[in-house]
């Protein structure tokens, strides 16, 4: 059975599911869902659910699987430690990561993510007997919303607009952003979070990778351009359309609301 057929079976199951439950008056403010009729349902079998892209660049083979999905979420992570080494150093150490905030209106409670993807990086070939897996990354085609952050250490490429202007960090195990043409700096843990996306659209270049050696990934959005070269270990790239929520290190709360 192919995946397409599996999805067709799912769609059939869902058609049955639509008959389950009772009809109630539509609450205002909620997404209005409606059952699919047979004609509509016959066209739903998961097509374009996955998009597969194979490319070669710089001596590496890349294979990206993009999920055609819109994700909305509110979540809270704490104690995010990626790449903890035997000597006690860490590639990425983020004490608090909150997708969404609860101190403003409902629109700020969640963060929207579009087209998440997963990408392999390989080198060599089976024919020459030197095929190697070099690493992989996960990322988003777009992310919009308020993300609370308390970053201690980040290996990667960051660019954030702050009251002092645009500040950046590029390299392994960084603990600060620099700006003002290099004459001023701001500790990472003074950024209480970022607003991802602007009036022009979503932030388009977030990804997190693990690598055995440095690689320049192909761009996922021509308007953004190629990302900085990712280094070995854990690496985070996020530079597009980010504005600091504050520079006091105060992370907005993210307490869930009660209700369906």
């Amino acid at each position: 059975m192919t995946t397409r057929n599996v999805l067709a079976a799912h769609a059939t199951m869902l058609a049955c599911a639509l008959l389950v439950g009772s009809a109630h008056a539509q609450d205002s403010g909620k997404p209005r869902l409606k059952p699919l009729d047979d004609a509509e349902l016959s066209g739903v079998y998961g097509q374009a659910l996955l998009d597969l892209t194979n490319t070669s660049q710089g001596g590496y083979d890349f294979s990206r699987i993009t999920l055609g999905a819109d994700i909305t979420m509110s979540s809270t992570l704490s104690g995010l430690v990626l790449g903890r080494h035997a000597d006690g150093t860490t590639d990425i150490d983020i004490s608090t990561l909150r997708f969404g905030r609860s101190d403003l209106d409902d629109a700020h409670r969640t963060v929207a993510i579009a087209n998440p993807y997963f990408e392999w990086v390989y080198s060599g070939s089976a024919a020459t007997g030197d095929r190697q897996v070099v690493g992989m990354r996960v990322g988003f085609g777009g992310i919009t919303g308020d993300v609370g952050l308390l970053m201690n250490t980040v290996s990667g490429s960051l660019t954030i607009n702050t009251p002092s202007g645009q500040m950046s960090s590029l390299g392994s195990q960084s603990t600060a952003l620099t700006g003002c043409s290099g004459s001023c700096s701001l500790a990472l843990n003074q950024i209480g979070g970022v607003t991802a996306g602007t009036a022009d659209g979503a932030s388009r270049d977030f990804f997190l990778s693990i690598l055995k050696s440095a690689v320049t990934y192909p761009t996922t959005n021509a308007a953004v351009g190629a990302p900085a070269t990712s280094q070995a270990g854990f690496w985070m790239n996020w530079t597009d359309r980010l504005n600091a929520i504050n520079t006091t290190g105060s992370v907005p709360p993210n307490v869930p609301k009660i209700g369906p």
């Binding site: 639509l18 055609g68 897996v133």
Partner: protein, 328 residues
């Protein structure tokens, strides 16, 4: 099947139930035929059994669900014509998993710790289908999966065009255990929303998840010459250290349906906002080690790049809504 307190004789043929707490029908029932007794029964202790009236008895379904196990389960692909799953994208590309092998180890007693399928009531009073996973406390029920994977850039008539195939090698998952939890399904309890509500959770441990980039030989032997290995993957509830419930029918329900909005039709998966003030469950995720290892050439030592460990102390999903766009 009796799971209540000690029964006391009442002098007639009786059906008995446990008083408190109220339990699912599958667990509360006990039917006994006892001889007449002249003595006055003592006062019932807490959780003692109590006689059922005929009308109550009529409502009793004397079932305890279905217990089943997967003893000696094994699925092995043919080497020459392997089991293959292919997702064909409308843009002509394709994702393929082939050579699927799946197996499980067992408890010594195959009936000691089965899956259990039953019909129970939710807190809201609706019925749910419950599949309780084995407790698997000793971790004897361990799953293993092996499959080759490839992404084809241009698939036509079932054949991948030359030069467009990305062969990823062999994916192998060893010693995957689920300890407790289960899958619980019911009609949607959200007003104005149709679909399948669900609860889902378990304690998950994986011995290793490895990608062997050079795949398998014709006889099925994995080429270990190059590997990315994630060893010791653990997902548990951050508070209890046990089962983590991603979705809970009573407090934090999931929803699965298909719908149409102004932008088109989509498959919809959601874990809704909590419906009570109880804290949203938090998970702890830990990977003990991540490493790349490549065998040396001409007798040289293997090269290992060790990325160390990774962990998330607390992962709390308050709300998650995924719309899988279908291209309509």
């Amino acid at each position: 099947m009796m799971r209540g307190g000690t029964p006391s004789a009442t002098g007639r043929a009786i059906a008995m139930r446990r008083l408190a707490p109220p339990c699912a029908a599958a667990t509360v029932l006990l039917a006994l035929a006892l001889p007449a007794a002249a003595a006055t029964p003592p006062a019932p202790p807490a959780h003692a059994m109590q006689a059922l009236q005929d009308d109550e008895l009529a409502a009793v379904r004397g079932a305890d669900g279905i217990a089943f196990n997967l003893n000696n389960f094994s699925l092995t692909s043919s080497l020459t014509n392997p089991l293959t799953l292919t997702y064909a994208s409308p843009n002509g590309s394709a994702l393929t998993l082939s050579g699927l092998d799946l197996s499980r180890t067992d408890d010594a007693d195959q009936f000691a710790d089965p899956y259990q399928l039953s019909l129970r009531s939710t807190t809201a009073g609706t019925q749910m289908i419950a599949i309780d996973f084995p407790l698997n406390a000793a971790g004897n029920q361990r799953w293993s999966l092996t499959a080759d994977f490839a992404n084809c850039g241009s698939l036509a008539a079932g054949v991948c065009a030359a030069g467009t195939n990305f062969f990823g090698g062999t994916l192998q998952i060893l010693d995957l255990t689920m300890k407790g939890g289960g899958l619980y399904v019911a009609p949607s309890q959200v007003a104005s929303t149709e679909g399948i509500a669900f609860g889902l959770g378990t304690q998950l441990d994986i011995g290793s998840l490895s990608v062997y980039s050079r795949g398998r030989a014709a006889d099925g032997t994995i080429d270990h010459g190059d590997v990315l290995a994630l060893s010791g993957i653990h997902l548990v509830d951050a508070t209890t250290g046990g089962v983590f419930m991603l979705a809970d029918l009573d407090k934090h329900p999931g929803l699965f349906n298909a719908a149409t909005d102004a932008t088109g039709s989509y498959l919809h998966l959601q874990v809704g906002w909590p419906t009570t003030s109880d804290p949203v469950p938090a998970a702890t995720l830990r990977i003990d080690n991540i490493s790349f290892t490549t065998a040396g050439v001409n007798g040289a030592a293997a090269t290992t790049t060790n990325l160390g460990s990774a962990s998330i102390a607390s992962l709390q999903i308050n709300y998650l809504d995924i719309k899988f766009r279908t291209g309509q």
